[in-house]
């Protein structure tokens, strides 16, 4: 391999690595507005997970869906909501005003993640968590309200 060839390969690897990092990393929040926007996005992601589980549980109740599918799908929804919360909590709040946003978001999203964990445990035991449906729907409404209000 000559020097020119090696250099080309190095450039390609150098460009590709940062490209993947650029599109996948969550940046810091430098202003209260951008921090609130991240909080709203976190609430939206968690709400998507909760609604997915609502549809899953409703379908399982109606059609007796098999346990492997139900438990795997609920676990994935729980993981997504948990990852969204962890990602949000790792962001430094830019001011004390954002501290309130952070604690409110952590509380509401954290409750949703706990609820999803309960659903996952129930599904893994072979039981569709139909009794959790009212709480799941309430959690979805709270998350929707949080996403709408936190950016004001």
């Amino acid at each position: 391999m000559n020097v020119r060839c090696a250099a080309r390969r190095l450039v390609a690897a150098t460009l590709l690595g940062p490209l993947v990092i650029l599109v996948s990393c969550s940046g810091p929040a430098r202003t209260d507005a951008s921090f609130s926007s991240k909080a709203a996005s976190t609430a939206d992601q968690a709400r998507s997970s909760v609604e997915t589980v609502v549809v899953l549980v409703e379908s399982a109740d109606r059609h007796h869906l098999p346990e492997p599918y139900l438990s795997t799908a609920i676990a994935e929804a729980e993981d997504d909501a948990g990852a969204a919360l962890t990602g949000f909590e790792s962001v430094q709040p830019p001011s004390s005003r954002s501290d309130l946003v952070r604690s409110r978001t952590s509380e509401v999203v954290g409750d949703a993640v706990d609820l999803l964990a309960q659903a996952r445990i129930s599904a893994r035991r072979g039981h569709a968590p139909v009794e959790l449906l009212p709480e799941l729907r309430r959690a979805s409404v709270r998350l929707d309200s949080l996403a709408a209000n936190v950016e004001r």
């Binding site: 998507s48 059609h63 098999p66």
Partner: protein, 409 residues
Amino acid sequence: MRKYLEVTLGVLTAIGGFVDIGDLVANAEVGARFRWNLAWVVVVGVVGIVLFAEMSGRVATLTERGTFDLVRERLGPRFALGNLLASFFVTFLTLVAEVAGIALALELATSVNHLLLLPTCGVLVWIVIWKVKFDSMERVFGLLGLALVVFAVAAWRLGPDWSAVLHQATHPGVPDGEGTPTYWYYAIALFGAAMTPYEVFFFSSGAVEEGWDRTDLMVNRANVLVGFPLGGALSLAIMTCAAVVFAPRGITVDHLSQVALPVAATLGRLGLVVVLIGFFAATFGAALETGLSSGYTVAQYFGWPWGKRYRPVDAARFHAVILVAILLAVAVGLTTVDPIKVTEYSIVFSAVALPLTYFPILVVANDPQYMGDRVNSRLTNALASVYLVVIVVAATAAIPLMIATKAGM
């Protein structure tokens, strides 16, 4: 009967190209976020791949030679090497995702973690490529992949307002809450998903494997006109199911389990079983396609004997490339990289690499030295030229949009 079964090459190519693991999730995600506002891209993509695959299949049928063999001869080894590297990279990324996709489909049926299943899936893919005859492989997985027609059944049962669907599909716009750059990013991603280079390598090499000759030009046409529109129709059905079930609830799609949910919610256990069979067949078919394409591209470029029509000992380097590619794909998968993210990146990189493959095929398809009296017609060339412009624009915009939208987030 045999003639009817010969369209299974096109069906398998389309199943593996249009509804592989990344397309399954991407089509559902687009339906959930944009409803039918990007349906036009699927149509544009279908026309494009029909054009591209027909040219490529015609070239392979008349010359009885592989794509890279001809590209190297016609355009020179340096251009062909650049093409090979770009295409192999995209194909390999897709292979990583497909082998993991097989494991994800099995996880949904067994609840065994996909990482534990991944090595076994790699071995199964390799055994099928090594042992099973090309036409048997294409018929089994092509026909099994038709289980995904269950999405069309589910879409019909969901009963959307079809006049509203048609209106939105024919009057596309950017929905509230989504940005224009994100809209165009997903448009390029869907277009790249429809026109992946490996589909064309597999299809054209498959034509040589099947022993097509001049008398099979109509079979070539039938394959592309049946197979790829079928793949496009399945894409639209998946999009419809997601639009009806997920969009009103604000659900975004990131997992294969979510893709299956509209079918499970509408058709129950039986629907779910059928869709999981379809997922398995589609991802397995795509893994076969990308695994074989890895071997085809490298062997054809270097002029090695290639193809399943030879005994493995007579095409040892071809099979060695495939084996190494599968081993590396399993190894990458075991690093716990998200296979759906991998294939979503590969779709976009596919759009970037597409001009490197499309242009050489267009050149060869117009060269009477190779094609005789079967060069492109004026209509074909007019359409192909329009698509060349579209492909170059998409390739240029893909990476900047990916960065600007953080891959559609």
